[in-house]
Amino acid sequence: MVRTPRISNRPILQSFLTLAAVCVIGLATTPSRAQDSIFTGTNTGAANIRIAVADFKAGSSDAQTAPFKRTFDVTLYADLASAGIFDIVSKSLAPQASPGAPNEINLSQWSAEPASAAMVAFGSLAVQSGRLVTNGFLFDAKNSQYPQVLAKQYNEEPSEDSARQIAHRFADEIIFRLGGGVPGIAETKIYYVKIGGGNKEIWQMDYDGANQHAITHLGTVSLSPRVSPDNSRLAFSSLGRDGFQIHMYSLLLGRMVNFPTNGGASFSPAWAPGGKDVAYSSTRSGSPSLWISDSSGNLARRVTSFKGGDVSPTYNPKTGAQIAWISGRTGLPQLYVMDSDGSGIMRITDTGYASSPSWSPNGQFIAFAWNRKYGPGAPGGQDIYVMEVAPGKDGAHRWIQLTHDGGRCDFPSWSPDGRHITYANTADGRPDHMKIWTMLSDGTQKRALTGTGGDMPNWSWK
């Protein structure tokens, strides 16, 4: 039905810019929504800003200051290094100085080679009078007259976690200021499935893999965690006496809340961007079909009706008016898109085995897992792909492959800034060896966030 010409992966900046042009032309069939500038990660076409991060100055001799400062320094550096918009100055090239305040920094030291920094983040951190006080500054190293871009003070309970969270907040301020006004993601969370002891529970961690902890203790198999757009509730499916059912957990109350699903099995929930509706797969009328109810499980209505399973819906988070999902109506499961009332069905993939779509925050792309050569005995691998939603001028949807030859990958989920994708990977193919990874949305900077036993990650909306 549609051809899928492959975009060469390397000149990705140009590819996406070209894509933008092609979309604008090709959008004739859809209501013409204005194209936003294309942020799919680092693909802005602009050169990355070279930024240096000084080790913060210890502002007091309190015994807690040194370990908290170490946590803060490591976290801030990692946040900025992984933001996808910076060319970060390696610590080995940066001056040894730890300026604690504006009058202590020698900017020419930072702007000169080998650091050659355009921006410098610095400041001081101290435990004093039982509080963790941090002063953070961002200076333009090339502007000797008015160098200050940002000055922030944080005053928190002294703890390891406070030091980390303050670093995340300061990093997000810097990223917001220098990243074209897109909020940073250093304070976001990832919800995921933790495999262990024959069960699967729902866990939560910070976006960088820190602070991993259990949310559920149900002693059964729970799958597909999806956090609500306002971070107040978590929908997931869980195996009980009547098979898999969608459950709703209140992150505010710390307990389960009611979510009636009225018979049959129900699984793979998805939140509408406003948080008002939940789409999911239900078998209450026989064949697994997509249904939409309000977020309390009421007013359920059926939106797909076709032989073959319909699963894994994901809303267009930009408009809320479209749903992408996986359907087996023509054989092996393929990726489809429709309006959220069930009309305007469009098939996106026409080959292989597609699963686990996640719609990008700007509405333009769908990340999904795809085994393009699926079949008995076929040598294909299941990798993460990003597909453009709007077809090009020739009617084909363009796509790029983000993972290669690293074992089975599944469950991509976009970060709210659209610059990152988290996903699950098992290098040797064994399901219990799944780990959660993150990468930039152009496939670079891959790194593992969890050890083995992490699966089905879902990135919070903010």
Partner: protein
Amino acid sequence: MTLNYRKHYTKFRKAFAMTAAALALITVIGCHKKSSGIDPNSLGPTNASEPVAASPSASITADPLAIDLGQSVVLNWRTQNATVVTIDGIGQVNVNGTQTVSPSNSTNFHLTAKGDGGTIEANVRVTVRVPVAPTVPPPTGNLPGDMGSEAEFHKNVQDAFFDYDSADLRPDAQAATAQAASYLAAHPGIKVVIGGYADERGSAEYNLALGETRANAARTALTAAGVAPGRLRVISYGKEKQFCTEENETCWQENRRAQFSLDR
């Protein structure tokens, strides 16, 4: 959960046999309560010029290990180099397989695997929590409410297996469901859970749908043959409850099935 002590025992016994076969016989009879026969290899000196048959290995697991009375347990056993495999209380079984059982009290499932290279045993203990409150003796005879025996059920109602990514009933699955339907027609008290399973390949969420569709196909075949829909309950496990976890077609085929269990 899995016991593998027989190997060492056999070795020990061989050493004995070389010095006194009669003594070995006593050892065998004395210590080996349920082995049906004596391994001929153990009775005389081994002929070094003959190729030595690989000794069998066996393991058996149960999921879950502890149940309340009336619940069922899935036994899963794997053997290698075995030709005859028996499980006490079940009888002779396939060399690799799974079976749902519902013991009425705590049971030691004892598997004996015999091959050219010797005999090996494996055990798994299933604990049954029996309520202490006195119960009314169950009615006997083929009355409504009579579930029949577990063993008889599994002899007559067998799993339906499916092709890859398919929920269509193959001829063998049609035969299985037809036999199941006639057994259920003769035992109107029986209610059945149809579990839908998929192999480990592909997506977890899509496989939940596939398992559901497979179980529904089996359900449709039973209702078409006259079994009342109210007696049948469908649960899809997708690929979440794998009985066989190796990456090969034999294993995948075992996982692609609709499994019938008594719904108590």
